[in-house]
C-alpha cells in the first residue's frame, strides 16, 4: 500500500475543482491545490483579506508587501482580479457566494461535522480566523486531512472530540488513503489507494464506511 503524499492529496483534490468555480483555499495543505488545477480550467481564487483572482507567489524581485493572502504570504493578482474590503470579503463567504471552500481539519465526523480551529489543550492559544465563516457560508466544503494521527488513531470520527467549527458542513473528504463522500446514508468510499481493501480502511476509520459500486483506485502522479 502506498499512501499519497501531502502534495498528491492536494493534486487529487484539485482535479475535482470545476472550471468557473470561485474557490477559497484554507491555510496549509489546501493552499497547495492551486498548483495542480488541470490545464484549461479557469478558477477564481478568493482570499478573505480582500482578493478575488489571487495568483501564485510573485517572482523574485516582484514582491509587493501590500499584497498578501490569508496565510500572510506574498501573492499576486491575476488579470481580472480585484481588491475589496473585509466586509465584502466576508459577505462573499457568509452569503453563499463562494462555490467551494477547501479546508484542512483536525477531525471530521460521519455527519460532516468539522473540527479545525482548536484542540482540547487548555494551554493552546485559540484562534479561529475565517474558519467558522467559511464552514458555515460556502456553498460546498471539502476537506483534506491525513487519514489518521501520527499515532495511527482515526481522524474521521463518529462524532468530533475537538470543539466544532461547524456542524454538518462537509461534503467530501480527501485523505492520503481514500476519497470519501459524506451522504445522508453515511460515509461512502469513492476511491482507495492500491493494496488497501475496505476492511483495512475501516480499521483506520471510526464510523462505518460503505463502498461505492463504481469505486476506483486512488492514484496520483509523482508531484
Amino acid at each position: 500500500m502506498q499512501p499519497l503524499s501531502r502534495r498528491q492529496m492536494a493534486w487529487r483534490a484539485a482535479q475535482d475543482i470545476e472550471s468557473g468555480a470561485v474557490v477559497n483555499l484554507g491555510i496549509g495543505l489546501p493552499t497547495l491545490c492551486a498548483d495542480y488545477i488541470p490545464a484549461g480550467r479557469e478558477i477564481i481564487f478568493h482570499s478573505e483579506n480582500g482578493l478575488l483572482g489571487m495568483g501564485p507567489a510573485p517572482a523574485k524581485g516582484r514582491e509587493d508587501p501590500d499584497l498578501i493572502n490569508a496565510s500572510k504570504q506574498l501573492v499576486t493578482l491575476v488579470p481580472g482580479g480585484c481588491y475589496f474590503h473585509h466586509n465584502d470579503a466576508f459577505l462573499m463567504i457568509r452569503g453563499g457566494h463562494i462555490d467551494l471552500a477547501m479546508l484542512g481539519a483536525l477531525e471530521v465526523s460521519e455527519t460532516g461535522d468539522l473540527a479545525n480551529w482548536i484542540t482540547n489543550d487548555p494551554r493552546a492559544l485559540p484562534g479561529v480566523g475565517g474558519a467558522m465563516d467559511l464552514a458555515a457560508g460556502a456553498k460546498e466544503v471539502r476537506i483534506l486531512l491525513e487519514h489518521t494521527t501520527k499515532e495511527g488513531a482515526p481522524r474521521i470520527k463518529k462524532s468530533c472530540t475537538y470543539p466544532l467549527t461547524a456542524a454538518q458542513c462537509v461534503s467530501r473528504i480527501y485523505t492520503n488513503l481514500a476519497v470519501i463522500d459524506v451522504t445522508k446514508d453515511g460515509l461512502v468510499v469513492r476511491e482507495m489507494v492500491d493494496g488497501l481493501d475496505l476492511a483495512q480502511l475501516q480499521k483506520l476509520t471510526e464510523p462505518k464506511l460503505s463502498l461505492a459500486n463504481d469505486w476506483k483506485k486512488l492514484s496520483a502522479p509523482a508531484v
Binding site: N49, D66, F90, G129
Partner: protein, 219 residues
C-alpha cells in the same frame, strides 16, 4: 473651510481616554496604522480594549501597546499569527483578556455598529463554543446566533492617500479592515502617506468617503 488635517501624531490622538475601545485596522501588519497606534503610548492611556483581526505582530503597533501594559482586552479573530509572541506571553501570564470572534462576525459586528443596526443573526459559529451564552434562533430550518454591534470609541486607520475632507483610498490588500472600522467609531483617525488636493482623488475610486474620517495625519 473643512480641514481634517492635523499637524502630527500627538495631535492626531489627542483626547483619547483610558478605558477606550480602539479599533485598529490591518491584517497582520499589512494596512495596520503602526505609527498612530504607537502614538497612544506617550498619551499615558491605560485599560484599552483593542479590536483588531490579530493581536500584534513583532513588537510594533498593537504589540507595542501590549508591551507597554496599556491593553486590558483584545477582541480579535486570530491572535496566533506570525510573530505574535508579545500577546502570547501576556495572555499566558493572565495579564490580558481575549474575546475570540470569527473573522466575518467581527467585520459584520463593526458594520452593524456603523449602520445603526442593533444586532443580527448569523449561522456562523452556531453550535460551537464561540456561541456559548448567546441567544440563538432557528430561521428557515437553520440555527442562527445573535451577534451584537461592536462600536469603537476610536478607530485608527491607514490609507494610501487622503484629502482635507477625509476621503481615502487604499493600496491592494492593505485595504482590509480599514473601511469598515473607519465607519464604526465615534472618532476616526487616519494616517496616510500623502494628502492631495480636493478633487485629485477620482470620485469613482474613493473607498472611504470623508464623512467617516475626523482627523488625517501624514506619516
Amino acid at each position: 473651510m473643512i480641514d481634517k488635517r492635523v499637524k502630527n501624531l500627538a495631535a492626531a490622538v489627542t483626547g483619547i481616554k483610558s478605558g477606550a475601545t480602539v479599533l485598529v485596522a490591518g491584517f497582520g501588519s499589512v494596512g495596520e496604522p503602526i505609527e498612530l497606534t504607537e502614538a497612544l503610548i506617550p498619551l499615558g492611556v491605560r485599560d484599552l480594549t483593542i479590536v483588531a483581526n490579530n493581536a500584534g505582530t513583532g513588537e510594533t503597533g498593537i504589540a507595542a501597546l501590549i508591551l507597554a501594559g496599556l491593553v486590558r482586552k483584545v477582541i480579535c479573530s486570530y491572535p496566533r499569527t506570525t510573530n505574535s509572541h508579545v500577546f502570547e506571553a501576556a495572555y499566558k501570564a493572565g495579564k490580558i483578556e481575549l474575546e475570540l470572534v470569527p473573522q466575518g462576525t467581527l467585520s459584520e459586528r463593526l458594520r452593524a455598529a456603523a449602520a445603526g443596526i442593533g444586532g443580527f443573526y448569523t449561522p456562523t459559529a452556531a453550535g460551537t463554543k464561540l456561541a456559548a451564552g448567546k441567544e440563538t434562533k432557528e430561521i428557515d430550518g437553520r440555527m442562527h446566533v445573535l451577534e451584537k454591534p461592536l462600536k469603537g470609541d476610536v478607530a485608527l486607520i491607514r490609507g494610501l492617500k487622503g484629502d482635507r475632507w477625509g476621503n481615502l483610498v487604499y493600496r491592494k490588500s492593505a485595504r482590509n479592515f480599514n473601511p469598515v472600522m473607519a465607519s464604526a467609531a465615534a472618532l476616526t483617525v487616519a494616517q496616510v502617506l500623502e494628502v492631495v488636493e480636493l478633487g485629485d482623488l477620482d470620485p469613482e475610486t474613493i473607498v472611504t468617503p470623508g464623512i467617516f474620517v475626523d482627523r488625517l495625519v501624514v506619516v
